[in-house]
Symmetry: C2
């Protein structure tokens, strides 16, 4: 019997480790027969989409619309009015493009609102430190918590430290970033484990390879039977400063003040169909999440993702390229606090899940597209690899294999439904991820044009092929 918290923890774990075990697909033993010729025959339509987007009437449009959107609403946290108004705005944007098959589906979501957050080191000297509370963290007493810091490098060290050395202290985890999936466990599970050892609060070195004094927030989860304690991320710089002081034998004492509220609200998933002309019940889904963290503008995470997914039906509609199957653009809600929107969608659409031909998601940046990260059986991967050959002119022909690509869509791809996430040149993604630096300054017109063209053309071909993508 699993508790609700444990299920949530599992969700978070699946969600946060999605990038593991990826390798470039080797298509040398693919044998697709006449399908090769069929796929090659899409070359003119691909070129038409690329030209329209990179040098035609759509040039710069994805960037401009994304900028107008994120400039107007800024951050769009789950449960806020800003998020709901931004959903209404997107609906209008689809309508304005003549796309009227738009529905929304309600979802109960958490509204975790950050209040004042202040971290001050008092010993060995006074220094105010930037922090960001982690998602759903409990607050401190109004006067804050003042306690000594214990620096912990990893969970093994925590386990091996006697409880009395942790009790009443604030644990600071200082894992050095390797990969996100490997390091993020100190953010997602740190507070629960520290509390189990008697800590009064949990701090974590931001899960990032680079910083300019820029803390990174993100989700975390408490465990059943363990007192929930305040949890926050601090900057790489301050974490390393405290570590150096601590390693020199100094007593490091800090005051932590955090305030927040947690309520429940109703949000909406947004579904937009460009109906297929032959098998409208069959779906190729393109998607991203419209909610964001409450810092920055959510331009990268995941404004870019929703705007390339907006562009796909819009460009196809403008070019009157209507595929055999339906293209459904979905703007998931409440991804950041635990894939809540997509779970509601999956439940509500259980009866049509056999109709999902292919499910796509862009949620790891919209830097220059390089190809796809896809799951599926061997034949599926052969087909996707063959489709990607049509994108050599824009250097987006790489197929990376993964068992459960994507973040939201991993709950489909993880069960064998074929799908893909956007593989893009996102080496700096975690520099900005979940920080105040997630703004339009991370985006470029060129990359969004490339991403929109690629996303649109891939979705079109897969939705139009003579055969379904095999499961």
């Amino acid at each position: 019997m699993f508790s609700k918290s444990f299920v949530f923890l599992l969700i978070v774990l699946v969600f946060e480790t999605k990038c593991d075990k990826e390798k470039v697909f080797d298509s040398s033993d693919c044998d697709l027969g006449s399908l090769v010729e069929e796929i090659a025959s899409y070359d003119k339509r691909v070129k038409k989409i690329i030209d329209y987007t990179l040098s035609g009437p759509f040039k710069g449009k994805t960037y401009d619309e994304l900028a107008k959107f994120v400039d107007k609403f800024g951050a769009r946290p789950s449960g806020t009015l800003d998020l709901e108004q931004s959903i209404d705005y997107m609906i209008d944007l689809f309508h304005n493009e003549g796309l009227h098959e738009v529905i929304t589906e309600e979802v109960e979501v958490p509204l975790w609102e950050r209040g004042a957050e202040v971290l001050t080191m008092y010993e060995p000297r006074k220094k105010k430190m930037e922090i960001l509370g982690l998602g759903k963290s409990v607050k401190t007493p109004l006067n804050g918590l003042t306690a000594e810091v214990v620096v912990i490098s990893n969970f093994t060290q925590l386990e091996e430290t006697p409880d009395e050395k942790i009790k009443g202290k604030i644990v600071l985890y200082v894992p050095i970033f390797t990969t996100y999936s490997e390091t993020v466990v100190y953010r997602t599970q740190g507070a629960a484990k520290a509390s189990a050892k008697g800590a009064v609060a949990s701090l974590v070195r931001s899960i990032a390879p680079f910083s300019i004094d820029s803390p990174h927030t993100g989700s975390q989860t408490y465990s059943d039977g363990v007192e929930p304690i305040p949890a926050a991320a601090i900057t790489l710089e301050d974490a390393d400063l405290i570590t150096r002081l601590y390693n020199r034998g100094e007593t490091v004492k800090v005051q932590l003040i955090m305030y927040s509220t947690l309520e429940t609200r109703v949000s909406r998933n947004t579904l937009v169909d460009l109906k297929g002309k032959e098998s409208p019940e069959k779906l190729v889904i393109v998607s991203g999440h419209i909610d964001s963290w409450d810092v920055g503008q959510g331009a990268m995470d995941d404004g870019g993702g929703i705007f390339v997914s907006w562009a796909a039906p819009v460009i196809l509609n403008r070019l009157n390229l209507i595929p055999r199957r339906t293209i459904r653009a979905i703007l998931w809600t409440a991804e950041e606090l635990g894939l809540i929107g997509v779970h509601a969608y999956k439940k509500a659409h259980e009866d049509e899940s056999h109709n999902i031909n292919f499910i796509m998601e862009s949620d790891e940046g919209t830097f220059a597209p390089l190809g796809l990260v896809a799951n599926g059986n061997h034949k599926t991967r052969c087909i996707v690899a063959e489709v990607l050959k049509l994108f050599q002119s824009i250097n987006a022909s790489t197929l990376i294999e993964s068992d459960s690509p994507g973040s939201d869509i991993s709950i489909f791809t993880g069960t064998g439904i074929p799908g893909a996430s956007l593989h893009n040149d996102n080496g700096q993604y975690f520099w900005f991820h979940h920080t105040e630096g997630d703004t339009m300054n991370v985006e470029t017109t060129e990359n969004l044009d490339l991403g929109a063209a690629f996303w649109t053309a891939v979705a079109y071909i897969i939705a139009d092929l003579s055969i379904d993508i095999p499961r």
Copy 2:
């Protein structure tokens, strides 16, 4: 007749444009005769210094001492007790190494202390924006200033804008960073020029090529006969957000609250002599400034500079390599608010300025050393280029020519006294400069070992050569 402000403005201009007109020196027509052989004969001593610092007892020492220093004191703004205590600490550090020829010289310096600084955009939507007031900025009224923003790209555009469009508004300068010297004028002169047109405050897009929502402070100066108005830097991200909103025809209204105090205090330049064994009156100066901005730790600007300059006499003393001339390490005070320490030194030591054989400064980062940026006549440059040939093993043999290298020392080098600043791999210098990101995270053990070895060996050779560096 020049007013005091005007002189200060000139100082700032000289200081801020120091990087202009640099090119790699061409040594093909150098003819140094027997000096070539003499310089080459230092190869064993150079190797000894490099080995001692990179793999011997001094390995890691420069980084460790710098870390202990900046971790203990943090930022060290001009006029503060922290700065004075950090000076005392450095004196002890020299004494502990058996260097007792240490004196300090008092200097009147400004103490500009930043209070609360809050910038909130109210229209077209509410957003709190990070700011950093600029040096010596006046404060706003207690309730702040609420006004519309006028976005200005350059001074020509400002001049061409009718006064009535500026009057009562807040000017935001949004120059795109090209080079520091080219772009920084909007920070140093922006408020004065905006005030002359009737603006009530002046904001500037941070003078930086990159940001993670990280504002950059720095000096600025008012003009005589013009009302001083509050002046602050905002982040690239927010400047670009406001610019996009403004260019879409939106009215952008902000509230700016700034508080600060300006007083006068006494600080000290610190002079440490490793006396020359033949001509102790003749000086080779190595230097950096001990004050910093009030953000970050001042580890890069200019902690690294003072610690490689600390290392030079320390390493030579440890290795008993005593040159003919005196090596003087100087820790300048109050560089950031206008080269105040060095001006006082120049005045106090006017009678021995003919004895400055060569003056060196590290104040543009201590990333991997690449060589020197030097002034001087042709023969001087030939000598320096010949000396640099001894550093091919550590890739630090490049000589860049400049008419007035350095920041503090430019008031010497600008008048023809030969000198050099550290040329280093500082392409990311302005990512961190004058921000909260100027911390130990920018520094590495390897780079500081390389920098200390290079700085020490160069100073030694020049101080020991059989001939003076020609003027």
